[in-house]
């Protein structure tokens, strides 16, 4: 397996490079899983937090230059730790943290606020939709006209495209409102 330097990882994350993402997953997920499970989480929580941490770090890398004066592992662990702390507090889960590494104190604004968390839920649930629904919604967001959508996807006409979009939106919202994290956020 290829080994990436800290610089390689950051540059790979800037480009959403799948090989780098795989490398980060392979290198750091075991640590994350151990930490989350040790601190009242489950395997699935570990997967979710890991994924959100990657997204947060990638966004941070893309928006600003991420000049680390510590190892990437320490920074990544700090992000995971911070996100898990937010999750536990938001869900009013009593915790006594058992840390396994040194970490940086991060500010809340550096990572996700409620808006971003909801956006993340919508994005995750969007990816659970059928490919056709994803396509319809993506074309709408891109500003494609309903006539063109109908033509591209072989629908009878504009009205049918509008109806399909409505159904896809409804399916997405239903998935979101049943999302456990969304439920907790909406309390």
């Amino acid at each position: 397996m290829v080994h990436y330097t800290q610089y390689g990882i950051i540059e790979g994350m800037r480009r959403n490079d799948k090989d780098v993402l795989k490398y980060v997953y392979k290198q750091y997920f075991p640590m994350v899983r151990y930490f989350i499970i040790r601190n009242q989480g489950s395997e699935e929580d570990a997967e979710d937090i890991f994924q959100e941490a990657i997204v947060a770090v990638c966004q941070r890398v893309k928006k600003r230059n991420l000049a680390l004066d510590c190892a990437f592992k320490t920074y990544f662990y700090s992000v995971i730790r911070h996100m898990w702390l937010q999750y536990l507090e938001r869900n009013k889960i009593h915790y006594e943290f058992s840390d396994m590494d040194e970490f940086l104190m991060l500010e809340d604004h550096e990572l996700y606020d409620d808006f971003q968390t909801k956006k993340a839920i919508f994005q995750r649930r969007f990816l659970d939709l059928t490919e056709l629904c994803q396509k319809v919604l993506l074309m709408v967001v891109e500003g494609t006209s309903y006539e063109e959508i109908a033509l591209t996807l072989g629908y009878k006409g504009k009205q049918y495209a509008i109806k399909r979009k409505y159904e896809c939106m409804k399916s997405l919202i239903n998935r979101v409102i049943h999302d456990p994290e969304y439920k907790r956020l909406s309390k």
Binding site: Q51, I54, V55, A120, Q123
Partner: protein
């Protein structure tokens, strides 16, 4: 957020509302906090789907997560993609080995091999001397030859004097056999020690044998001048 306002939101977003309906909806938005909050969340959908970079990242992460979930359910050997190469190499080696072995087995016809080995025993050509000596079963008893001494190194001259003692009451016939397996001398009758062979014999290596009708009691060699 729920779906009860969705039809309204869709009509508004798609620009399908009549001007009056649109104005009424906008008024409600500013007056009804629940409707307003729902509409704001509705708009998050467009923001979320429109963020192509993050969506692309999430698609990749989802794929990696699914790959890892699949790999976790597999035996270790299959966990990493490159193991398929090893697996393919292993299968190729096994198939090649099987083919080569089959070809070699097919080439060597074992039935023929066994038959020819048995035939080799059957058709082994023993010399005439061997065949002559094999006519009688060799028997180990106390037979002591005093004269002549076994030797192919010392020349013997006729007449040959044979002296022996034997712990048996069976009558023994003395025979001399040349290298061709031909009996050149036979006492015909049971010989008694000492026995003098008066017949003139040809030179060369000679085998002498004391035998009964079925068994050879003693076999030795002489070199006659």
């Amino acid at each position: 957020m729920n779906t009860k306002y969705l039809k309204q939101f869709e009509n508004y977003y798609n620009g399908e509302m009549e001007p009056e309906e649109k104005a009424s909806f906008e008024r409600s938005l500013s007056q009804d906090p629940e409707l307003n909050a729902s509409y704001k969340e509705y708009l998050i959908i467009y923001d979320a789907i429109g963020d192509k970079d993050v969506l692309d990242l999430r698609i990749k992460l989802k794929e990696i997560r699914e790959e890892n979930a699949r790999n976790r359910n597999r035996p270790d050997f299959f966990r990493y993609g490159y193991n398929w190469l090893w697996m393919a190499a292993l299968i190729t080696i096994i198939i090649s080995f099987t083919i080569i072995t089959s070809l070699l087995i097919a080439k060597v016809d074992w039935n023929d091999e066994v038959t020819s080995a048995l035939n080799a025993v059957d058709i082994h050509e023993y010399s005439a001397l061997d065949r002559e000596l094999m006519k009688f079963e060799q028997r180990n008893i106390d037979f002591k030859l005093e004269s002549p001494k076994d030797s192919i190194f010392f020349n013997r001259k006729y007449p040959l004097l044979f002296k022996w003692t034997v712990d048996s009451t069976y009558p023994l016939i003395l025979e001399l056999i040349d290298w061709e397996g031909k009996i050149v001398f036979s006492s015909d009758k049971p010989a008694i020690s000492p026995y003098l062979v008066k017949k003139k014999l040809p030179g060369g290596i000679m085998v002498y044998r004391f035998r009964t009708d079925t068994e050879a009691y003693y076999i030795g060699f002489l070199f006659l001048k």
